[in-house]
Structures are given as structure tokens and as C-alpha cells.
Symmetry: C2
Subunit: 224 residues, 2 copies
DNA sequence: CTTAACCGGAGTTTGTAACTCCACTTAATT
DNA sequence: AATTAAGTGGAGTTACAAACTCCGGTTAAG
């Protein structure tokens, strides 16, 4: 893969290529932690280069974000498709939610793109449109098989996913797995019937949370 | 009630008092719609006064917010206490959640304060500390009576409330009652056991949502 | 009629983030 | 090793937004 940004096919100079990689790596981390509002100055600092270098390689912030999350988004789309090959439809649905959420909860930038941020481009929107139909199949199968309550629609899952991933981002720095607790609770609410709650005890809860809740809230506004 | 802001007890001039009321009324609406980031210029415009007038009456933004939400927060605290007088403990818990959420979902400013915004002061934090113990009683009662799964703690409810009210704010302008749909689902996940899901059909869903979801996301960033 | 309180809103201050510019450095080619 | 186009850092520019001030003109109250 001979990466280049310019109009014509001249390979980048060795140091330039090296820096491009450093920038991409740093941006991945910075946007994952701080979300898409992170400054390109922050990215540059994290990469150990000057801002100028970032702008030489990527025309603007959107371009960098586009290059960075191209994969991430249709990785999620693929998760939905491959979940659909599992034999048990409830397991498939749960597996998909866990996989998708574990990615979005750990990566604030990805969550913001999937949730539809101002930085997302047409190219990414396209991939996002591939997610909905695939999820719809998962839902319909689980409903036909009598696992999932049948008064739910695709958008319900978009919203529930949004709620959980938002929480996931807010708590990822103090209790990275806390979101699973609420996914479990919500899944218990989505099922047609059950005689007992799913196990929750092994998931993080009170101890971490009570101290953390304050810092979560404080963390909510200005980042880093 | 002879309102005044100055150090010594001189009643405000008639027009000043009138404006103070206009400002408070306007601020209530503006902060409810736009959240606490709303500009005092916006408040002034909504009140039909100049910014100067706002600043003459309230030393700064925090003071205005303080004066405005003093009640709101401990109204919620009172809800918890009065829920505790209901005979059925499950109904009490559900009633409290519905009441508290219906207030926070319709009022973005209130939600931000309860969630712990930078504008909240010690005075408000104090009231918030009154909420937690009262809710704890509700929870323990519902658990003792075998309604509520017993692996839940107070902070779980704080978090679930945060998740729902956040959604409520995001969707209040297109589907004011949508949050009830997810409260219902979550309650179905909190109950010890059930043979069927609670009724969901009469709550808003697909029709409104699919169009709205986009505008919700777009609305997420810069307001108004 | 006097005057202290009040009013509006243009303007100031402060802060932030995207992005540019250019003197200097360096990889690649001859 | 000389040449040079490509690349680099980071101070500086531009743009914008929001909190808050200032003051010439207005008005309620005694």
C-alpha cells in the first residue's frame, strides 16, 4: 500500500511516510479518548510532530477523521452480517450488541461518528446505512423465534445502543466494563419472558461507582 | 415576598421588579430548552430586555441559575420522600422514577444540574445528597418485597436515570414521550421475574423515530 | 421637578480552535 | 558532495463565541 495524499502518484518521502503513520496512530488514541472535538494540536502533540506537519498530510480535520474511521464503521456493519450466520438468533443478537458496544464504548470518536457527528462524511454515512438493514434481520429472526418481544423496532436498538455507549464513554476511564451491567439489565427487559434475572453480580457496580460517579460527572464537560 | 438582590433591604423599583420576573420566566424556558450553556444574551432576548439588565439583577450566570433551580432540585428530593409513603413498594419506585424523569426530560437545565454540571453550587449539591438516601429506601423496600432484583444498588438508579433523561432531552422536541418507552423496557429488566413484557404499543416508536433520529443526532451538537 | 435607580445594547475581554506561513532541515537524486 | 524539492516545527493569524462592562439616555418615586 503506497500511501500518498497528493494529486499525482509520487510516493512520500521516507520521513513523511513515517510521520503520517505516527499521526494516524496518535489520532486513533486521541480521538478514542477525547472524542472528535479533540484539537489537531493535541493530535500533533501526541504524535510528536508540529501541527503544520499534520496539515501538510491531511487537508483538514475531516479528512483525518475520514481516513481514521473508514474501517471502524463498516467493521460494525460486518459484525451485524456475521452475527446473522449464527444458529441461535438470540445469541446472535446479544453477540452483535456486545461486539458493537465494546467497540463504541472504548472509542468515543467511533461512537460519535455512529451517532452522527458533524464530522462524518458521505462516505461514512454510506457505511452507516449498511448497519440498519443487517440489524433489522437480527431483530426479526429473534422475534420470529420467540426470544425477543415483538413490539420492538430497529430504531429502538439504535437508541438503546446510543444510551449504553454514551454511558460507556463516560465511565470508560474509571470502570471500563460498567456498561455491560446495563446491557444485561436492558437485555432482561427485551426478552419476552423470564423467570429470574440474568447474573449481574460479577459485573462491576457499587464499590467503584459511588466514588467514581462524581468524577464521571465532572469529566462530562471539558475533557482531558 | 419582597425580592431584592442588593445588600440592604431596599425594595426594587416597580419596573425593576417587573423585569426581574420577566428574566426569571424567560430563563426558565431558555435553560429548559437549551440547557445551561445557553447564553445570557439569549435569556435577555427571550425576556425582552437588554443583557445589561440581566447583569444588574444577577451578578453572574451562576447566580441566575442558582436562583432558578433552587426549588427544582429539592422538589425531586421530595418526590422520593413522598413516594415512600405509598403502600405498594414497586408502585412507589415506578412512580418516583416517572415523576423525576418527567421533570428532567422536559427540562434540560434541571437534568444537567442533577447530573452535576459546572454551574451547580454547593447549595444544590446539598439538596442532591438528600435524594440518594430517600431513593435508597425505595429500592430496599422494593427488594424486600420481592419485586426488584436484589443485585441492584442506588448508583444503578442514578445511572439509569441519567441514561433515560439524556435521551429524553435529545428527543423532547420531536417525541416528548419517547423516553417512557425505554423506561418501560428497563423496568421490565429490573423486575425479579415476569411472564410477559409490559405493554409498549401505546408508546411512541417507529413512525416518529425513523425520521426524527437523524434530526436528533444533528440537533445533538450546537443548539437552537 | 429632581434625582437615584434603571435601562439597552454596543463594545470589551477572554478564550479557543482551525488553519497558515516561512525560515530552517533533510531525504533523495545526480 | 552538491543540489533541490519535499518536508518540518510552531509561532502567528483568523474567526468566532460567550461572559461581562460601560455609559448616554430613560423613568419611577417622593
Amino acid at each position: 500500500m503506497t500511501t500518498q495524499t497528493d494529486y499525482f502518484d509520487r510516493p512520500l518521502r521516507a520521513d513523511a511516510e513515517r510521520n503520517r503513520a505516527k499521526i494516524l496512530d496518535a489520532a486513533a488514541i486521541v480521538f478514542a479518548d477525547l472524542g472528535l472535538e479533540a484539537t489537531l494540536d493535541q493530535v500533533a502533540a501526541a504524535a510528536g510532530v508540529g501541527v503544520g506537519t499534520v496539515y501538510r498530510r491531511f487537508p483538514d480535520k475531516d479528512a483525518l477523521i475520514g481516513a481514521l474511521f473508514e474501517n471502524g464503521v463498516d467493521e460494525i456493519a460486518n459484525l451485524a452480517s456475521s452475527a446473522d450466520t449464527m444458529e441461535n438468533s438470540w445469541d446472535a443478537l446479544v453477540w452483535f450488541l456486545e461486539q458493537a458496544l465494546s467497540r463504541q464504548c472504548v472509542n468515543r470518536g467511533l461512537r460519535e461518528i455512529v451517532a452522527g457527528s458533524p464530522y462524518a462524511e458521505a462516505r461514512l454515512d454510506q457505511a452507516k446505512c449498511r448497519i440498519a438493514p443487517a440489524v433489522e434481520l437480527l431483530i426479526e429472526r429473534a422475534q420470529r423465534d420467540g426470544y425477543l418481544r415483538d413490539d420492538l423496532v430497529t430504531t429502538d436498538f439504535m437508541i438503546l445502543e446510543m444510551m449504553i455507549s454514551l454511558l460507556g464513554n463516560k465511565t470508560s476511564h474509571v470502570a471500563p466494563d460498567l456498561w455491560r451491567r446495563y446491557l444485561t439489565i436492558i437485555l432482561d427487559g427485551l426478552v419476552v419472558s423470564r423467570s429470574a434475572p440474568s447474573v449481574l453480580r460479577q459485573l462491576p457496580a457499587d464499590s467503584i461507582m459511588s466514588d467514581a460517579l462524581g468524577s464521571v460527572h465532572r469529566h462530562a464537560r471539558r475533557h482531558n
